[in-house]
């Protein structure tokens, strides 16, 4: 692909892709920030929500936290491999990260099925509405990340566009960090 010269310039001192991914994350922070701030304002005003939070599955949540954080490790290792110009290794490590994402979403699917069958649906009350909306928006980001990672890994295996391995890694860390906010707010705080 022929890129414009504009893409290759670095007047700000860092590669264009990295600069852009940070701006993507800035705009994402404000989306999740708005949602979480709305949740927190409600939560502070309503003590009853502590009771609702007790019905979440702390074990599933903790396991998912562990999986997601661990998957970031292989993303970092993939970046290292990409810097060493080892495309196939980077692709393999990205595959591990994708596996983590898939496990995360699968556990979530079972967790939600159980909750819904116990009668805690998105319509039960505002706590559960926030629970499904916030975690659902996050899960969409996980799924999107896995898909994009698949595309990047298949190119990286052929040694192409290795700079993208780092960029998807930055995004994946961001998805982790959002979960680190969501997990205590939705599951633990009582």
């Amino acid at each position: 692909m022929d890129r414009p010269i504009a893409t290759t310039r670095t007047a700000a001192g860092l590669p264009t892709g990295r600069l852009a991914i940070w701006w993507v994350i800035v705009s994402e922070i404000f989306i999740f920030g708005g949602l979480l701030a709305s949740y927190i304002m409600h939560r502070l005003a309503k003590d009853a929500w502590a009771g609702h939070a007790e019905h979440t599955n702390l074990y599933a949540g903790s396991f998912n936290t562990l999986v997601l954080l661990t998957s970031s490790l292989s993303a970092v290792l993939a970046h290292k491999a990409a810097e060493e110009n080892n495309g196939p290794k980077a692709a393999k490590l990205l595959g591990l990260t994708m596996l983590g994402g898939v496990i995360f979403v699968t556990v979530k699917a079972f967790e939600w099925s159980a909750e819904i069958s116990h009668g805690y649906t998105v319509l039960t009350n505002t706590f559960w509405s926030f629970y499904y909306t916030a975690a659902g928006l996050h899960a969409c980001h996980v799924i999107a990340g896995v898909v994009i990672m698949g595309i990047i890994a298949s190119a990286a295996r052929k040694g192409q566009e290795l700079q993208r391995v780092e960029l998807i890694g930055i995004y994946w860390h961001f998805v982790d960090i959002i979960w680190i906010f969501l997990f205590p707010l939705l599951y633990i705080a009582r």
């Binding site: 010269i5 504009a6 404000f30 949602l35 709305s38 009350n125 509405s129």
Partner: protein, 565 residues
């Protein structure tokens, strides 16, 4: 800051371009800019005609409006809602930010395209989709959304209340798609301006208009997020049946107002800053004078940007917020008038002792300052919570709003279009027609909205379909003012035909413009008009700031940024 990559002369790849790759799916930033500008102009026609229909209903209630027919109450609500939505999200945003941003940023910073051409194309495609969804929402069962462009719940949250179950959801989807398009575009603008500047172009050598579009894009990114979250919740309320905004079931309708205005107020500055930037570039060229206090303009823009995040609750003084909080927001609101006033003074100082040429773009730029001043000063009354309790939801607010937004979205845009038209299409606009259009717009504009100020002071509430139902507002003195405003609007709309004629006839009949018809300094004037694919035959190096006019000791009164000496 090292430019280690050696840049050879840009050889534009000459593969065959089909009609589709050239006009429908272009990657070139200039063509994407044209797509945005033409879509925005088409939507301006739609939005303008809507105002014609509902103004006719207000002046002559119950009349068969020519070309539309009888206006029902639901039609009326739908028309005012869509007028607001379209003019802000489908005219001001695409033309001022996306249109001018796409056209000007790569040319003005001296590179061949946006950093991500394909993201740029995707941005327009999503925007186009959003336009289609919005227009489609007018024709679904129940009609288009009629709950005002602010879409306050509970009215907007339930089909049973809004009576437009499909229309309101499609409206929301269209707005959300539009936000996505501008987030993608904004990331492109900010990254391009940060990373792809020509060698030698330092931070303070960037033309003000580029700075302003970049600051506006960052403001947009930082303010729209919470509203996207809010829109997701509103969507869930509408379509899934959750109760985020339903007070009966534990929700809170005020939450939407906070999320909306946390975006809504910075949004005013998102569109204002590019217009102010255009004005700066136009004024320096036609005053043949260096911009007075370049850095001050930037610092005031930063101050405005930061302050704009702390004023939102002044839209909610009567919404039941704590009066102590209202006091704080009164103070921040009055504070934000300081940087804006400062910019106006800086511009007036730029004019002082310049050799002013009253060409059409300059008239628009001066018109911008004059009308925006009225908008700003009337804003002070509304920012004071005590006065606002009386003025809230009257035509005084409406007239104030239009005295700020009309200069931005119409006058500022005309300043930009008339100024860069030679660069965009390679031909000059007709000056006489341009001046007729200017006076035919600016005089009726004032004649529309000054009567509305008077009506607002008299207590005329807005969002009323037929004032005959309210004896205290139905008197002849009030009704005459309404008729006067409506007739002025008709005159103003008719004068837009002059512009449309001038715009399209000049495509073919205009005088060829040449590279630099205005003798301007910035980099876009160093390339042929219209610029070829890849912009620069040889990528430029920058030696000085953008506003070196009338430098003592030089033969020319301008000094292009890329001239070594």
């Amino acid at each position: 800051m090292a430019h280690t990559i050696t840049e050879t002369t840009h050889a534009a790849p000459h593969h065959e371009e089909t009609f589709w790759s050239k006009y429908v799916f272009p990657l070139d930033h200039k063509r994407i800019a044209m797509q945005y500008i033409f879509t925005g102009m088409a939507m301006a026609v739609v939005g303008g005609l809507m105002s014609y229909v509902f103004r006719m209903q207000l002046a002559f209630p119950g009349m068969d409006v020519p070309g539309f027919g009888l206006v029902s109450p639901a039609d009326y609500n739908f028309l005012v809602t869509s007028h607001g939505t379209i003019m802000i999200f489908w005219v001001a945003m695409p033309v001022l930010i996306a249109g001018f941003g796409n056209f000007l940023i790569p040319l003005m910073v001296g590179c061949d395209d946006m950093v991500f051409p394909r993201v740029n194309r995707l941005s327009y495609q999503i925007f186009f989709l959003s336009t289609v969804v919005l227009l489609a929402s007018f024709f679904v069962e129940g009609g288009g959304f009629g709950g005002a462009w602010t879409a306050y719940p509970p009215l907007s949250a339930k089909g049973a209340y809004s009576m437009t179950p499909l229309g309101s959801t499609l409206w929301l989807v269209a707005v959300a798609l539009e936000f996505t398009a501008f987030l993608l575009g904004g990331i492109n603008f900010v990254t391009t301006a940060m990373n792809s500047r020509a060698p030698g172009m330092k931070m303070f050598d960037i033309p003000i208009v580029v700075w302003m579009i970049v600051i506006a894009s960052i403001l947009f990114m930082a303010s729209v997020g919470p509203l996207i979250a809010g829109a997701i919740m509103l969507f869930m309320d509408q379509q899934v049946g959750t109760a985020f905004y339903d007070p009966d079931r534990g929700g809170d309708p005020l939450l939407w107002q906070h999320l909306f205005w946390f975006f809504g107020h910075p949004e005013v500055y998102v569109v204002l800053l590019p217009a102010i930037g255009i004005t700066a570039d136009v004024m320096t060229v036609f005053a043949r004078k260096k911009l007075f206090a370049y850095r001050t303009v930037l610092y005031t823009a930063f101050a405005t940007g930061v302050l704009s995040f702390f004023v939102w609750a002044h839209h909610q003084f009567v919404a039941g917020i704590d009066p102590r909080m209202a006091n704080i927001f009164t103070v921040t609101t009055v504070l934000i008038s300081i940087p804006i006033a400062e910019m106006c003074f800086v511009y007036i100082a730029t004019l002082y002792r310049g050799s002013i040429e009253l060409a059409t773009p300059m008239l628009w730029a001066l018109g911008f300052i004059a009308t925006f001043l009225v908008g700003g000063v009337t804003g002070l009354y509304l920012g004071a919570s005590g006065a606002d309790i009386y003025f809230h939801d009257t035509y005084f607010v409406l007239a104030h709003f239009h005295y700020t937004f009309f200069p931005i979205a119409i006058i500022g845009v005309f300043a930009g279009i008339t100024f860069w038209y030679p660069k965009m299409f390679g031909r000059m606009l007709n000056e006489t027609l341009g001046k007729i259009h200017f006076w035919g717009t600016i005089i009726p504009f004032n004649l529309i909205f000054i009567p509305l100020f008077v009506l607002g002071l008299g207590g005329q509430h807005r969002r009323i379909y037929n004032y005959n139902h309210f004896p205290e507002l139905a008197g002849a003195d009030f009704q005459n003012l309404r008729v006067f405003a409506t007739v002025s609007l008709l005159v103003m709309l008719l004068f837009q035909l002059v512009f449309i004629w001038n715009f399209f006839v000049s495509f073919w009949r205009g005088k060829p413009a040449g590279k630099n018809p205005w003798n301007a300094n910035t980099l876009e004037w160093t390339v042929p008009s219209p610029p070829p694919h890849g912009n620069f035959a040889e990528l430029p190096t920058v030696y000085r700031g953008p506003y070196e006019y009338s430098t003592p000791g030089r033969d020319d009164d301008f000094w292009p940024q890329d001239a070594p000496n």
